[in-house]
Every structure is written in structure tokens, then in C-alpha cells.
């Protein structure tokens, strides 16, 4: 019964919410992830090419090395090609009165819970790729670490940051 229980929690109904009421990412987030991965792949390809060209020119590199390097390259390329689709399909977040839940992952699926009472600071950030797709990340800082909700539509990200900020300020006022 427990088999793949965590994965089943990521199934989405026709309203775009999971049975537990989690939100999903906008579809265009996949495009942003792909652009990022293409840049990573381009940098990685350049490094592999330079290493291969340099080593074969100056050293007698055994064939095994090249085969292992190509296998590693192919695995990483496949991960970058398939990753965004899996990441998008599994990414879920939920914010209620007490906590922020984030479920995400490609191979390793993680479930992060941040009690809102522990939130110290909120930040909405947009890089050039996210800007291109009108997306933003919300970074949540607690005293013990940082969590982030990525690839949100800009108004959604700002709403989340505003409502959480208002909540934190309210808590602080009550404590004073």
C-alpha cells in the first residue's frame, strides 16, 4: 500500500489542484526551465569539447576515458532534457494560515514544511530568464535556512509575499 505513496500525492484534478489543495506551476514555467537547461548544456558541451580536444592533442588518452566521459555527458543531457517536464509535473505548493508546503523534485522528491511563525524575511526575485516568461521566485528566509517557491506568475508571487509579510508584521505587532 505504501508503494510510491509520495508520488501519488502529485496527481492533479481537472481544476489544477491536488486532492490536498496544492497549487501547480504555470505551464510557461517549463519554457523557463528549458532555457536554463539549454544554457547549462551549452556550457557543459563547451567544457567537454575543450577537455577532449586538449587531452587528445597532448596525451594518449585511453579509449575507456572517452567512453566514460561520453556516457556521463549523455546521462546529464538526458536529465536536462527530461527534467523540466518531471519537475513541472511534480512541483506543488500550498500556503495556509500556519504553514508553507512545497513538494518538488525530479529523482528525489522532497516535501518542505515551513511554519509561517518561523518566517523572518520574504523576497521576490526575477532573473533574466524568469523575466522573459513573466515569472518570479519567492524566497522565504527563516532563522535556520531558506526555502523558495519557484516559477510563479509575477502577480501570484507578489501576492504571496504581501500576504505573508502582512501576517509576519501582524504577529510581531501582537508580540510587542
Amino acid at each position: 500500500m505504501k508503494r510510491d505513496k509520495m508520488s501519488n500525492e502529485f496527481k492533479v484534478d481537472e481544476k489544477g489542484l491536488t486532492t490536498d489543495g496544492y497549487h501547480v506551476l504555470p505551464r510557461r514555467s517549463v519554457g523557463a526551465m528549458y532555457i536554463g537547461n539549454v544554457i547549462i548544456l551549452a556550457i557543459m558541451s563547451a567544457i567537454v569539447y575543450v577537455v577532449y580536444a586538449y587531452s587528445s592533442q597532448y596525451y594518449e588518452v585511453p579509449g575507456t576515458y572517452n567512453v566514460l566521459m561520453m556516457i556521463a555527458y549523455a546521462l546529464i543531457a538526458a536529465y536536462l532534457a527530461l527534467g523540466p517536464l518531471v519537475y513541472y509535473a511534480r512541483y506543488r505548493y500550498r500556503i495556509d494560515g500556519d504553514r508553507i508546503d512545497i513538494r518538488k523534485g525530479i529523482l528525489v522528491i522532497s516535501h518542505t514544511v515551513v511554519p509561517i511563525e518561523r518566517v523572518h524575511q520574504l523576497e521576490v526575485a526575477r532573473g533574466p530568464i524568469n523575466n522573459l516568461f513573466r515569472l518570479a521566485d519567492v524566497t522565504i528566509t527563516t532563522a535556520g535556512g531558506i526555502a523558495s517557491i519557484q516559477y510563479l506568475e509575477i502577480p501570484v508571487a507578489e501576492d504571496i509575499a504581501d500576504s505573508l509579510n502582512a501576517f509576519i508584521n501582524d504577529v510581531m505587532r501582537k508580540r510587542e
Partner: protein
């Protein structure tokens, strides 16, 4: 060792120090000027030394002739300016201790007013170096509750020892709202007797197993190299230096650091003092402890020795405090019985009845597969290294076959070690949960038993990988405030629902009011 005994000696003692009125203004000890100038002298000497040689290289003969005078003039000018700046800053910096906050006012060209509310202070520590001992002064360090400022004190003030003790005692009174001054009584006995032998053993055995083994191997390798190599001692010296820096220096530093160790608790405050050349006096509230940890690296565990430390934010006890010494040590290496007695006496808040659970049987599969994968990766890397070594051209007097054989032996031990480590972790790693606390036991080689309060969890993350998810298993990462800012504490493989229950409990306690922030101020 019950609660009344604990709080007894210090809290019942008559106050030794006068109260500080809110309008009393303090100025630091003049040695502060010397401290500031000394640092400037060292920096400026280095600059002038460099500039002296630059001038010497100049083409103009006249410049070369007067290079010594020019350098001396530059040096004296810098020292004079820095002395004047240090004096001016010292003279114009005043400290006041109000009813709710302390204020440091620096009325120089760059005006600065620092206000620190007593409720935000995490700890007040006293640190005495050689200069302080000669001049009968001490450096009072005030730390606040902040992960950002975990590495250095918020304020470092130099006073005569008497003034420093008076301020610290008054701060304790203001911070902890006691009617008596729980002073750092020199006559209060330590909860646990730590002999010089204990400190030496602690220094020798408390190093991580990896550093200890590396240091010992390098030491013997260096000696072997120096005996067998004629004329060229370079490789032997390098190996012995590595042994010194990876093991011997940390051991000696640890022995000096924890010499004359003493710990006691007065009310809700824990007092720790230690140090041989530089002495440390730390105090912090029990409510500021985020986790308590029993540690035992492999070698001390073989002789049944353990140590106890705590994660407390804002406890920097010196400007250049070694990061490995940041977590306050509650008890150096002792037997398990003594460690548990000290834990009950010093931090009974972290003692609870708990039934520790081993990882479930299903965990054996992901652990086994994981160990196999890592062993295989290491074996492939070792094979590639061996292959490369064997293909390198022969160097006169140096056989690659020996290097390759050594590499194969080390790799074989590593592959077997990784595999055994993975398999053994199944029955060693444990998790236990009580009403308001929970415990993770991890580490096949260097064991750590960490007890945490649900109320101190900042964030919890449950991770299930492709090997563990099919069995409903996951691992948990708990984020806490710690002595180095923040720290993640990881569990082994347990039922995912059981680990999810940790964050559920954290949120539930906040929601129903069992978590009361006022208890932790």
C-alpha cells in the same frame, strides 16, 4: 543532582557587585587604544616593509639613498595617525546600561549609536588574552540572537576585570529578570569534575576519525620517508607537516582551549569557563539551546568515551573563534554514565524517556543499493587511477607499480568500507520521538545522538529518492539555528509518514499554543 542543587550555590549567593544606575556612563579601559594601535602597527609594518623594497628598486639614486628614512617616516606617520584615531574613538565612545537596553555611542566624525535590547542578547562572554592578563583587563563580548551574526560578537568591549564582571553580572540580572545577581562565582563547584587527564584525552580523542587516521598515516609515512630517503627530506617534511596541521595542532589547540574546564548552572543560566593562555567565560540561558548532542568518534567509542555539546546561537567567545569550538561543550570526554548525569543536571529539559527505533527492515534495500552504487563508483575511479598510473612513463628510481599497488590497496579498503558503512547503518541509525522532543542517532563511524525540541525546528524537509520511495521510506532534514548560524540535521531512512509527523507536530504546537515564544526569549 536535582534542580534545587543545581540552582543553589550561585543563585543564593549575595550579590558581589553594585547595581549599575541607568545614567552611569562607562568608558572602556585605555588598553583599548593599545589594542587598536597594535593591530595598526602590524599592518602598517607589513605595508612599509613592502614599500621599502619598492623604493630600493627605484632608478633614482637619491630616492634609494633616503629609502630607509622615507619608509621610517611613512611608518611613524601611519602609527601616529592610527594612535590618534584609536585614542579619539576610545575617548568619545561611551556605554550606558538603561532599563531595557544598552547603548553604545561613538561621537566621532563618523557618529554611531548602537542599541541592543536585553531581550535580544543571547549570551555575554568574557575573554582574556595575554595583554588582558598583564593589564588586569578582560574583553566583554555581547552576542545577539542572530544567525547572520553567529560568527562574531555584536559588541566587544574592553574593561578592567572588576568593571567587566560588574557589567556582566548586571546584564545577567537584566536579561534573566532575576532578583539576585547570578554572578560567575569563582567558588561555585563544577557540576562535573574534569581533570587535566580528561582534558588531554578530550583533545586527543575528540578529533574526527578521518583527520585522526589521516594525521597518523601521514606522520608514519613522513618518518618512513625521512629514514629511507637519503639527502632529500622534502616529501617527509611535507607529510609530517600535513600530520601536524591535520591532527597535532588541533589536538594541542583543543587541550589549551578546554584547560581548567568548569560548568555549572544557576537558575536558567549555564556558566562555562575554561582556557589555559586565553581564558573564556561563557554564559547562556537554557532556553537558547536549540539541540543537545552526545558525540563519540570511533576511537573514543572503542574505550567507551563520549562528549556532550549544545547548539546555541550567538555564542562567539572571541573575534577569531575557531569554528570547531563554537558549539559550547557541556562535558568533555567521559563515560556514558557521567555524560547522562551531566545532561540531567545541566540540561534536564532535553532528557526524556524515549524508545529509539531502528530503521525498518525495508530500509536495508535502499541502503544496500546505495552502498553498492557508491562502492562501484569508487571502484571505477580507482581502476581509472590505476590504469593511468600504469600507463605513465617510468621515472628513474621510482616505480609506478608501488604507487598503483598502494592505490589499489587504499581503494579496496575504501570500497569495502563504503559498503560496510552502508550495510551497518541499517542497524545503527535510529529515531525516537517524545511529547515535545525528538532524537536522531546517526553515524556508523563518528556517532552523534542529537536531541531537539519541536519548538526549535525552523524548517523540516522529507526527501524520498527513487530507491526509497517504492518502500514508503524517506529521510528527513531538520533546519535549526546553531552556533555557526544555521545547521541541518539529517535522519536515516524511516517511514515517510512518521517523518512527516515531525513537521505536523511543529505546526500543531504553534497552532494550539503549546509553543509559547515567550519561553524562548
Amino acid at each position: 543532582m536535582n534542580g534545587e542543587d543545581r540552582a543553589g550555590p550561585a543563585s543564593e549567593a549575595a550579590p558581589r557587585f553594585e547595581q549599575i544606575p541607568a545614567d552611569e556612563e562607562f568608558i572602556q579601559h585605555p588598553i583599548k587604544v593599545a589594542e587598536g594601535v597594535l593591530q595598526s602597527v602590524i599592518v602598517s609594518a607589513a605595508i612599509v616593509f613592502w614599500s621599502y623594497f619598492s623604493i630600493m628598486d627605484a632608478d633614482e639614486a637619491i630616492v634609494e639613498k633616503y629609502s630607509l628614512y622615507i619608509s621610517a617616516a611613512i611608518f611613524l606617520s601611519i602609527v601616529c595617525i592610527m594612535t590618534w584615531v584609536a585614542y579619539w574613538r576610545w575617548r568619545r565612545t561611551t556605554i550606558k546600561f538603561g532599563d531595557n537596553e544598552l547603548t553604545v555611542l561613538r561621537d566621532t566624525v563618523f557618529k554611531k549609536q548602537t542599541r541592543i535590547s536585553y531581550s535580544k542578547i543571547a549570551s555575554t562572554n568574557v575573554n582574556c588574552g595575554i595583554i588582558n592578563r598583564i593589564t588586569n583587563t578582560s574583553r566583554l563580548m555581547i552576542n545577539i540572537n542572530s544567525s547572520v551574526k553567529a560568527f562574531s560578537p555584536e559588541l566587544t568591549l574592553t574593561f578592567s576585570t572588576e568593571v567587566s564582571d560588574r557589567i556582566r553580572a548586571n546584564l545577567s540580572q537584566k536579561m534573566y529578570k532575576n532578583n539576585v545577581i547570578p554572578a560567575d562565582e569563582p567558588d561555585t563547584p563544577s557540576i562535573v569534575t574534569i581533570t587535566k587527564t580528561d582534558v588531554v584525552l578530550h583533545g586527543l580523542l575528540s578529533q574526527p576519525t578521518g583527520s585522526a587516521i589521516f594525521g597518523i598515516i601521514m606522520f608514519f609515512f613522513g618518518i618512513y620517508q625521512m629514514i629511507t630517503t637519503t639527502g632529500d627530506f622534502a616529501s617527509g617534511i611535507v607529510a609530517i607537516s600535513l600530520a601536524l596541521f591535520s591532527y597535532v595542532v588541533p589536538v594541542v589547540a583543543m587541550i589549551f582551549h578546554y584547560f581548567n574546564y568548569k560548568i555549572y548552572r544557576a537558575g536558567d543560566t549555564i556558566y562555562i569557563s575554561h582556557g589555559f593562555i586565553r581564558t573564556y567565560h561563557k554564559s547562556f540561558k537554557v532556553s537558547k539551546i536549540n539541540a543537545v548532542r552526545i558525540r563519540s568518534p570511533l576511537i573514543p567509542r572503542l574505550i567507551k568515551r563520549y562528549m556532550l555539546d549544545a547548539e546555541v546561537v550567538g555564542l562567539a567567545a572571541s573575534d577569531g573563534d575557531n569554528s570547531s569550538n563554537r558549539s559550547p561543550l557541556l562535558c568533555p570526554m567521559k563515560d556514558r554514565g557521567t555524560i547522562e548525569k551531566v545532561m540531567s543536571a545541566i540540561v534536564p529539559e532535553f532528557v526524556y524517556d524515549v524508545e529509539m527505533k531502528n530503521q525498518p527492515k525495508e530500509a536495508a534495500k535502499p541502503i544496500f543499493i546505495r552502498a553498492t552504487i557508491w562502492s562501484l563508483i569508487f571502484a571505477v575511479a580507482a581502476f581509472l587511477f590505476y590504469d593511468t598510473m600504469m600507463n605513465l612513463p617510468e621515472t628513474e628510481g621510482f616505480s609506478m607499480e608501488y604507487v598503483a599497488a598502494a592505490a589499489i590497496s587504499v581503494s579496496g579498503v575504501m570500497v569495502a568500507g563504503l559498503f560496510v558503512n552502508g550495510v551497518m547503518s541499517r542497524r545503527i541509525v535510529q529515531y525516537g520521538r517524545g511529547e515535545d522532543k525528538f532524537t536522531f542517532l546517526v553515524g556508523v563511524v563518528d556517532r552523534k545522538i542529537t536531541t531537539m525540541s519541536f519548538d526549535k525546528v525552523q524548517m523540516a524537509e522529507v526527501e524520498g529518492g527513487p530507491l526509497s520511495r517504492p518502500y514508503g521510506l524517506a529521510r528527513c532534514k531538520i533546519s535549526l539555528l546553531s552556533s555557526v548560524g544555521s545547521q541541518n540535521i539529517r535522519s536515516g531512512y524511516f517511514d515517510a509518514e512518521e517523518l512527516e509527523a515531525i513537521s505536523e507536530e511543529v505546526v500543531a504546537r504553534i497552532k494550539d499554543g503549546r509553543y509559547d515564544y515567550r519561553k524562548y526569549i
